[in-house]
Homo-oligomer: 349 residues x 3
């Protein structure tokens, strides 16, 4: 743990180092209500205990992304307090369903380090894991972050850039979702008749709605996760910084895009894995987030007849409707794009 | 259910059609906390389990208006996604108390249709019902909405304008309130010594306080209800629209006015029915809501000695204190009036 | 109780008068989630049921300051509806841990009165007490408030200014904290290795981070406590007033400073008493709060080997980092200081 909250600098990290993060957190139905109110998600399994029970859950599970944000938040004081930028995620797998009352804690292992040529900073790769109160892993992901050095002259650990898989394999999916009793799955209550077989590779879906973000909203959300990254909360300092404004936590955009994706993906009730994600541009309060998705792959999961997996690219934009699916122009992203997320969602067959 | 969230247009509705709405929702003490924090309501029965138990409830019930907003929210994607305006409510009855842990779902029956002469839109009348997880009705109300046509040339269903009662009859009131044990009812804890007999027809009550609404607040509230009406959330689109701003959900004003009405109506702890309501003018963030009420009627409820019913007109205004009871000038509402609500509240005798 | 919410004026108070406040309130995990999201506190005992159980609590207790705010809120309609200013607190003691599901109510006794020489107002001293549903005291504090007179000519009660202790004595501390099983106390999970013995009188600690406050945030928080003080919510009226803006509830600053103090005081998990507090200057939305603390005293608690007490002065500032510990220049506070709080925190030995 870092002293007095100043956090670690690039030269403080060592390859193979395992960091146990502070502040285990009990997730409750209070958190669930707040998350619902911040994003307006309508996926039925997370919304209705009754529905969840009918298809084989003991009750509604915690939204996958809320689990992600809370585990991620735990890692911030140690890993990214002195980050210049969050560069990416990979190989994020949801390993067990989390329920209200569970207590989550987290660890991170340093799996890669590469100093930048300017000697002022470097890239830290960590594999972070979230566990419930029984010590069972619930989440596992890699992220890499550019972190400042405290002292340019400081010697640093050996360089290692880990090889990361382009995607989580279908056989690894579904550990956080019980085998569903599909007889209990009511399409009308779920909001859509489209099941696994109704999606085709290459299909593009406009999620239609837009959601404007207010400062109070992203601050409340990010504090809910106990994420302490300063850039989200401190207008006094950020007002003097490169954007002149507080930066919205990238995970806020992911949650908004996921909530909007109900329009077109209502039955894709579980985020099973995130293959990769890129925060292409920052989001600021007052802007309106839109999103669209492309079906990149449709895969069966070995030994499961209840659900299939859709690999989705979800693109979020700011102040730009997505009816014409803005993405890239040549190598460059459309200037409105703020998120390029590649993930697996499970959907009943 | 509508496809991809685009919602129904006027020509999609048929007389007698019954629509089962998506996304059953479990209401929890998390929702209760958030609702309390958004409106600051102080009615004792909804605030204190201890008090509620002493007078005959199993515990604090969910605030009546929170039940209303959640059931209403379920109907929005199917009924009013393409609405130009919510024109009115009538005959809204609370039929069973709702408690934390209950799961609500909703249906609507189309009971009236009338195309407008310009052929661009029409008025849809629906009777919507909310049910708990046991299938028991908890709420029943009629609303009518002006809905756009997708295609001016589309043929429409026959015209029918339903007859709606001017008020819910006293004998229909009280189903959502157990017979109270008045010995356990402590006026001091409830905040007022005024009971049923202390109100007179014609009495006007200034609710004194004003509450300024922020964008984050109404967005958080409206998402809590999973109400997806676009005008509340999307500044990008609304900024180009007729007001240049996001419109605040009319139900937000009702909840504010009800919370403010504690000053003067502290013992009117249960909203039993809404006879009618009119959103006279829109509310926008940054404005301050005030309210006053007039006692329209004081009625006993057949076979109940524990509580009586006050029929109340509650007027809410924007940026206008209510010490002189602003209402109408001739036929026209005072320009500050935003809500004219006619409802029955139950109050101990 | 006051009529119609107009509240008491100075001449309405009598020495020795005991006021039983309205609206008992059940505190839930919904409130806990919202409080967490509003302040981002990371103290482990309040964050993790698992951790709390390991050290001897039945589960995570409610944050001490949330208990304070709720009890304080109950007193507002009767005591400070017509306040010109909250002048101070003293002798605030936390007497029993509060847990989710507990219902709190409050009483106040008028222990001092002093009319101002201008006859327009006077200072009211009250001892307020909070009780749980079993009638057990959970909190006890004195505050004094300058309250308007309704009528300058009104005769008033005899003058009495109570003697207040400069501090709560160490032997009085700890009633709200069970005897801790320190074997279960994991420094890493708590976020710091610094225990009681590691702090020295005179040490100054910069809490590093800053937190910008939005209107929606302080309004949501203050309504959560059912605090009805008009100055926090009504821009229409405040816009015409002395600051032109809504005033943020002073307790909001206390909670922010406490949450920020995790950086440097992570193991000081319980606020046991508040010796005194002064809101030196008002806070408004859009400003950023920073904080620092000085260790005023380190005291053992009679008969307890598990924890010790740190007497802390916590200073909060607006738009002013605290790396150089801004406090007073001569007799005058630095112009950035908004809070000067003197309290006892308990910390494992």
């Amino acid at each position: 743990m870092s002293k007095k909250g100043a956090g670690n600098f690039f030269e403080d990290f060592r390859l193979g180092q395992v960091i146990k993060h502070a502040t285990p957190r009990t997730i409750t139905i209070g958190d669930v209500a707040l998350y619902a109110a911040l994003f307006g998600s309508r996926f039925v399994v997370q919304s209705s205990d009754m529905f969840a029970e009918k298809i084989g859950y003991p009750r509604s599970p915690i939204d996958d992304l809320l689990v992600f944000h809370i585990v991620f938040g735990k890692t911030v004081p140690d890993i990214s307090s002195n980050a210049i930028a969050n560069l990416g995620y990979a190989s994020c797998r949801f390993l067990a369903a989390v329920f209200p009352g569970d207590t989550l804690n987290a660890t991170s292992e340093v799996i890669g380090l590469r100093e930048n040529s300017n000697k002022q900073s470097g890239v830290v790769y960590v594999r972070s894991k979230g566990f419930n109160q029984k010590g069972k892993p619930v989440l596992d992901f890699v992220r890499w972050v550019m972190v400042r050095k405290r002292d340019e002259a400081a010697s640093v650990s050996e360089t290692k850039v880990p090889k990361l898989p382009a995607q989580v394999e279908p056989k690894e999916l579904g550990k956080a979702m019980p085998r569903l009793k599909l007889k209990g799955y009511d399409n009308t209550l779920a909001g859509s008749a489209r099941r696994f077989a109704d999606y085709k590779v290459g299909e593009k879906i406009d999620h239609l709605d837009g959601m404007t973000v207010e400062e109070a909203e992203h601050q409340i959300a990010t504090r809910l996760y106990q994420n302490t990254a300063r850039v989200h909360f401190n207008q006094f300092t950020e007002g003097k910084g490169r954007f002149g404004r507080r930066l919205i936590y990238g995970g806020h955009v992911i949650s908004l895009a996921r909530a909007l994706s109900f329009n077109g993906l209502a039955n894709a009730v579980h985020v099973a894995a995130i293959n990769g994600g890129r925060h292409v541009a920052p989001l600021f309060a007052g802007l309106t987030v839109f999103a669209w998705s492309e079906v990149l792959d449709c895969r069966e999961i070995p030994k499961r007849k209840d659900v299939g997996a859709l690999r989705l690219r979800t693109i979020a934009t700011k102040d730009r409707p997505c009816n014409d699916f803005p993405f890239k122009q040549g190598e460059e992203y459309d200037s409105a794009v703020i998120l390029d997320l590649d993930y697996w969602a499970l959907i009943p067959r």
